[in-house]
Symmetry: C3
Subunit: 140 residues, 3 copies
């Protein structure tokens, strides 16, 4: 019998960093009791991203951070939208370069992630934020 | 009762610019009469993108445009695929750096967008184009 | 009658290159017998991407490769995560800049792709890999 359910996760961030929430998503899938289906994850913001990346060596996330900091420099004089600070426009651009929604099949009751894949909220602002993630589960 | 419907939107572009079509999508969702479900939006082109970005200050879109124009310069001698002009290959690269499909939950009859999220077609070519967007709605 | 099915494709790569698999996906959709629905494609890796791009002039893919090689240089001294070689961290960053999941409507028994859209696995590592792609089909 097909069914769907919707959930909201709130992730508190303190500064520019990665927050893994794979475990919270897996708990939602398990509680929904779906064996086969589809999970859609949508972040309701424009200055933070969702990212699937390696969950083994933490240096991968630090290198991602270093690369994006160089690619989209805070305080770049190119930007006019600076009302909220020098990290404001870079946060929007980092979001555009990555994504705010993910779609992941559910197979045998689990998210069909690869061995080294973790699901992260990537906060791009340097000050604390409360980030809302909407999760839609569909299947049987 | 689960049901699905499919729709096509055609967006006429004149030059490199953002075209918001959040309202048209919300109208489709409302007419389909879905309370709970999933909207999938697919752009059938490789030189324009779909982007969820801030719908408040228009300077954000202008800064996005400035940044991408600097990151992927028109007429860069690196490019060999130049048959359609100096904006041709940059348009493909901008599309690769962003996306052509989006998946957004429908909650209580509305797209589950954040307060400041708008859905844009981002035209990357400098001349007019007619862009087709396919919308798949699923739910009950 | 709504139904869903799940499939796995394994794509063998030899070096950094694009591998089109649109035809294999279309075969899966045809065999599943779906007329109207949604295909979700998820790559279970963090150093290769899924990309929808032009399937006509192969120079487009070569220019994409040239651009990304310049944007994210192999062996960049910025990177600390270098255990697997100088292409390791660039592969993670190229993946973050593109995507690992796609959602494409199925219309009249076919993937709703544009005329020039092909679906590619983009291998970012320079040595051979075996890449797993999970395909979730849903519809009626």
């Amino acid at each position: 019998m097909f069914r769907q359910s919707q959930h909201e996760l709130v992730i508190k961030t303190r500064d520019r960093a990665f927050h893994e929430f794979t475990g919270q998503l897996e708990t939602l899938v398990r509680r929904a009791g779906l064996k086969t289906g589809l999970a859609t994850i949508h972040l309701q913001h424009t200055s933070a991203s969702l990212l699937i990346q390696e969950n083994a060596d933490p240096e991968v996330r630090r290198d991602l951070e270093r690369f994006f900091a160089r690619l989209v420099p805070d305080g770049d004089p190119l930007f006019w939208h600076t009302a909220e600070g020098k990290d404001d426009m870079p946060a929007h651009i980092r979001t555009a370069l990555t994504t705010v929604n993910l779609s992941i099949p559910i197979i045998e009751g689990n998210l069909a992630l690869g061995t080294w894949q973790g699901i992260y909220l990537w906060e791009h602002r340097t000050r604390p934020h409360s980030r809302r993630v909407v999760v839609h589960l569909l299947g049987e």
